[in-house]
């Protein structure tokens, strides 16, 4: 819970009220080098890991993890860096999927068109909805986003002529120039590329002037405003970016699974996404992947507990938040750096 005590803290605004997590640390001067190294590492990992998969079931889970990581990345920008909370983000994910599905299945649009159009439309929607919503703060923002998420969920469930209702609807596969994209291995490749690109985008964003403005917003909105940063604009920008990422992931997942149900927009799903972000450490991009992985794999692993699955899951959450309040990755990273005595390396 300490405010950023160790290492190089080049120019970032210190944390405000004692409760907020410290703003992310950057190694002064070698930010770009660290970034490139990390991105290369990510690319290498993404290429190598599939060789460990014994059958296509593992590919399936991997695709799920990667797509969740993309959503988490966006949500992390919002929660971790900009300090805003959203308890309704699953709505963007689901709308991405449903939008592309409805355009393709009900109106005959080719999927290579329906997907980008849907994602762009959701970006616009996020901008429109975000402007009044982000005026709220703290718990009120939580309530507003929660309410919006619930409304989207109810509409998707009830408009069965359009959306197929609670049983969901079939989604045509993604096809480009007549070439149908199917099969776990191909989709693993697609998901990996999308994730890598998102991480590249996110890390560049963090270390740019925009990113510094974001961290100012998080640290203390008032202080930020005092030095002339127009808070509202940046908050909205981050909100839209996180919505775009969620919608993209949602649309891709829908085309991959061939099926989508309204439960994708449920409050529980939104909560799961927030947990993934917090788990891995707010303001820690690499944790995005760890968090998504852990939470996606957990149900698979918890099947051994059968009846006790929910209890164990709840218990794990509580314990993690108590012992790793800053998220697993930063806490471990801090322990590591404390031991090796050097400055922090992870962004």
């Amino acid at each position: 819970m300490a405010t950023g005590s160790d290492s190089t803290h080049a120019g970032a605004v210190p944390a405000g009220a004692g409760r907020a997590p410290a703003a992310p640390r950057i190694a002064a001067g070698s930010a770009r080098a660290a970034r490139t190294r990390a991105l290369a590492l990510l690319a290498a990992a993404l290429v190598v890991i599939p060789f460990l998969f014994p059958n296509s079931y593992f590919y399936e889970v991997a695709v799920l993890v990667l797509m969740n990581a993309v959503v988490c990345l966006g949500l992390n920008l919002l929660i971790g860096y900009a300090g805003q909370i959203s308890l309704g983000h699953a709505a963007f994910f689901a709308l991405g999927g449903y939008g592309s599905a409805i355009l393709a299945a009900n109106h005959g649009w080719p999927t290579w068109l329906s997907l980008p159009v849907t994602v762009a439309a959701i970006g616009v929607l996020a901008a429109v909805v975000g402007k009044p919503t982000l005026r709220f703060k703290g718990h009120y923002l939580a309530m507003a986003t929660l309410g919006l998420g619930v409304i989207v969920n109810l509409v998707l469930t009830n408009e069965d002529r359009l959306t197929g209702g609670p049983d969901g609807m079939s989604v045509p596969p993604l096809a480009i120039m007549g070439y149908v994209l199917s099969g776990e291995k191909l989709w693993y490749g697609i998901a990996a590329v999308v994730l890598w690109a998102s991480v590249w985008l996110a890390t560049n964003l963090i270390d740019s002037p925009v990113g510094r403005a974001l961290r100012a917003v998080h640290g203390s909105e008032v202080a930020g405003e005092t030095v002339g940063i127009v808070i509202a604009r940046w908050k909205l920008a981050v909100f839209v970016i996180s919505a775009l990422l969620a919608a993209l992931a949602g649309a891709l997942m829908a085309h991959y699974s061939g099926f989508i149900t309204p439960s994708k927009s449920s409050f529980l799903h939104s909560v799961e996404l927030v947990i993934m972000v917090v788990f891995r450490g707010m303001a820690s991009i690499w944790g995005a992947i760890v968090g998504a992985a852990v939470l996606t794999l957990l149900p698979q692993l918890l099947t051994v507990f059968k009846d006790y699955e929910t209890m164990v899951f709840g218990g794990v959450l509580i314990a993690t938040m108590i012992f790793f309040p800053r998220g697993i990755v930063p806490t471990l990273a801090r322990l590591w750096s404390r031991r090796s005595g050097s400055g922090s390396k992870s962004p």
Partner: protein, 291 residues
Amino acid sequence: MGGAWLQFVASGLTAGAIYALIALGFSIIYNTCHAINFAQGEFVMVGGMSAVSFVAMGLPLVVAVPLAVAAAMIVGLLVERLAIEPAHGNDVVTLIIVTIGVSLFLRGLAQVVWGKGIHALPAFSGTDAITFFGATVVPQSLWVVGGTVVAVIALGLFFNRTLFGKAMQATAQNTLAARLMGIDTRVIMRVSFALAALLGALGGVLTAPITLTSAEIGVMLGLKGFAAAMLGGLGSFAGAVAGGLLLGLIEALGAGFLSSAYKDVIAFVMILVVLFFLPTGLVGARSGDRV
């Protein structure tokens, strides 16, 4: 349509009373612990389900009900000691996750202990409907509304007339100052949780005869109670009650006159509209945006 209109109001008030109790629980915990307790709905569930168990064991309702409420209070205390206190001092999002974890844990535990089925509690005083001006209510509805009224009055007296209650108010207004004055804020927090659990469980046992109960009911109830608390103004006592009743009425009237399919949407839209114009809720929150 006089009878129909009155019918909607009657069912709206009954549901609203429960939302009010849950919203009060939210507000109390928010005030003293500065946390949103997403497990509030589970207190309701524990109350109802415990009562069902005690009745199944052969205890008369008169004994089962207070026992169930007491059981829920113990659960509340345990939650505070084991989950909230260790996590105290962290930021908003962390605390929210912890309470979500608690909610999941309690739900999972309930499924293991009580199974996944649905259960009914016998009505306190029979099921013969009472008619007035074309609307009918079951006697249990009167218990619900009456019980809520009594609880609200008792709570008010507690906060305003007793030393401990005033200490709680002091803690809510300024924790540091309260501690400096010698108030043990940890005890305050524990009592808050016990109190919230009591209110939730009371709601649970009062409505179980009407709404049935199962291990899963906590989720939606918690959500709606939270929405009601926000509507009235988080942290405000009167706001919680007003918010709860209003939410119940909006739901029932919306279902009756507009669309039964979309009544929940109507309710949430209204809440968002209210929050948009009155950002701190109807009655207004206690703390402003501290600089």
